[in-house]
């Protein structure tokens, strides 16, 4: 579904990604693992067209990604970055706002379903009325996970989404994503809970063999 071919990206004359290759079949689960500052987040940024690689190409559904089809890719992605303060208002406002995007026009607000998901991730029902900015990091992560699970996207780009959760919740979230067969998941994480799961392809990044695909 997605293929990175020989992607390199320099930042001030230093390679943060060097000859990175990765094939992501539909429905697969991939973990990008490794210490921070080695360009893991850059992989998402390049994929989503936020920045252009210095070398290499990315293919989406066999087609080279360009300024035109990047918009088709973004319609299918859920992008949960490290920065959590990306939303404003009550949780309900946030859901309404995201549902107002044209890409989500066929999805209608289903309170029961959302509450069920939120309960599953141990959020209280009244969280919908709460001001998102006042919530803790772990609550924000669980809210974003619930909302985007509800949206049922095709591709999930998850950047450290389990970082503020306790051990049990980390496992619960990871198992949840792994259980969704139709979702294509690429996750960036330092959490070793991801490592011990079956059915996940682990790509270790860092050092000189930066981005080698095994």
């Amino acid at each position: 579904m997605i293929e990175f071919k020989n992607i390199s990206k320099k930042f001030k004359d230093r390679y943060i990604l060097n000859n990175f290759n990765l094939k992501v079949p539909q429905g697969s689960k991939t973990l990008l693992y490794g210490k921070s500052g080695i360009g893991k987040t850059t992989i998402f940024r390049i994929l989503l067209g936020f920045t252009q690689p210095d070398e290499g190409e990315i293919f989406f559904k066999e087609e080279k990604i360009n300024a035109k089809n990047i918009w088709d890719l973004r319609k299918e992605t859920a992008y949960l970055g490290q920065e959590l303060d990306v939303l404003e208002g009550t949780v309900q406002d946030i859901i309404n706002n995201i549902l107002s995007y044209k890409v989500n026009e066929n999805i209608s607000f289903d309170k029961n379903k959302i509450i069920k998901l939120m309960n599953y991730f141990q959020l209280e029902e009244n969280v919908l009325e709460k001001d998102y900015q006042t919530l803790s990091g772990g609550e924000k992560q669980r809210i974003l996970i619930s909302i985007f699970s509800f949206l049922n996207k095709k591709i999930y780009l998850l950047d450290e989404i389990t970082s503020s959760l306790d051990k049990d919740m980390k496992n619960k979230v990871i198992d949840y994503f792994l259980s969704k067969e139709e979702w294509t998941v690429i996750s960036i994480s330092h959490d070793h809970e991801w490592l011990s799961k079956d059915g996940i392809k682990i790509i270790e990044l860092g050092g000189n063999n930066n981005g080698t695909n095994n």
Binding site: F50, Y79, G81, V86, K102
Partner: protein, 263 residues
């Protein structure tokens, strides 16, 4: 009513004596604004003297085309002020800002003169240039705040913007929160001053009219009209500027171009 008492040149000199107060205070507390104060005072004096000479001639000719030309000149000057004070890239922004200021100001002044005042000669300098200038001057700050905030906010909250794009939003959907904020911050000062006008402040236009001999009941009606026209003009020009500039400020991937701001 008798005409306003003139200030003789000698009296005008005594006005400048008042400057000693801020200058002494600046010296005492080391505010380092003495030089700036003097430069600004000189600029103000020169600009207003020139303006008075221009106005004398504008009144003498009172020609429709000259008046429109003069207002257009003032609008282009204002456009440079907006771009300059917003730290935006002049080449990229000057035309869209000029165009949106032009449209919103001409619309406001036409409505004012044709619909509200129902003048026989709406282009006469007394109404066209004077009220036009008044509207423009008051709309200027709103425009500066609105346009600067829009682009600065996207840059400052870049992650929030990218979050929306990465989740399938179009550029328009992704900028909507910034657009709202820009308009709110641009309009708030005018809305707030409308609420206190007459209690804590007597606005300049009204004061001027009363000094000039107009009855207060006429002056307040003009003031009401001008405030509402300003609100209309600011909201329209900020909206238009953002729409006119958006197309060229984002690249094909929907990312804000780096040269939007002055380097």
């Amino acid at each position: 009513m008798e005409p306003t008492t003139d200030i003789s040149l000698l009296s005008l000199l005594t006005v400048y004596l008042l400057l000693f107060v801020p200058i002494i205070i600046s010296y005492l507390f080391n505010l380092k604004i003495t030089k700036e104060t003097i430069i600004s005072t000189v600029r103000m004096t020169v600009q207003l003297f020139i303006m008075s000479i221009i106005l004398i001639y504008l009144f003498r000719f009172d020609n429709k085309w000259i008046n429109m030309g003069w207002l257009t000149f003032m609008i282009s000057f204002a456009a440079f002020r907006v771009v300059g004070s917003s730290d935006l890239n002049v080449r990229r922004f000057i035309w869209p800002i000029f165009l949106s200021l032009f449209i919103s100001n001409f619309l406001a002044i036409f409505y004012f003169n044709f619909v509200i005042l129902r003048l026989d000669n709406a282009f006469t300098v007394r109404y066209f240039v004077i009220i036009g200038g008044m509207l423009l001057g008051n709309a200027l700050n709103g425009n500066i705040i609105g346009i600067r905030n829009f682009y600065k906010d996207i840059l400052r909250n870049n992650e929030r913007y990218l979050f929306a794009l990465g989740n399938g939003a179009t550029v328009y959907e992704a900028v909507l929160p910034y657009f709202r904020n820009a308009l709110i911050t641009a309009l708030k000062p005018t809305i707030a001053s409308m609420a206190t006008i007459g209690i804590v402040s007597l606005p300049g236009m009204m004061t001027g009219q009363i000094l000039g001999g107009s009855p207060p009941q006429t002056a307040i009606k003009y003031q009401i009209a001008i405030m509402i026209a300003i609100l209309m003009s600011v909201s329209l020009s900020v909206t238009l500027t953002i729409f006119f500039t958006m197309r060229s400020s984002f690249n094909e991937y929907g990312i804000l171009k780096e040269d939007v701001f002055k380097s």
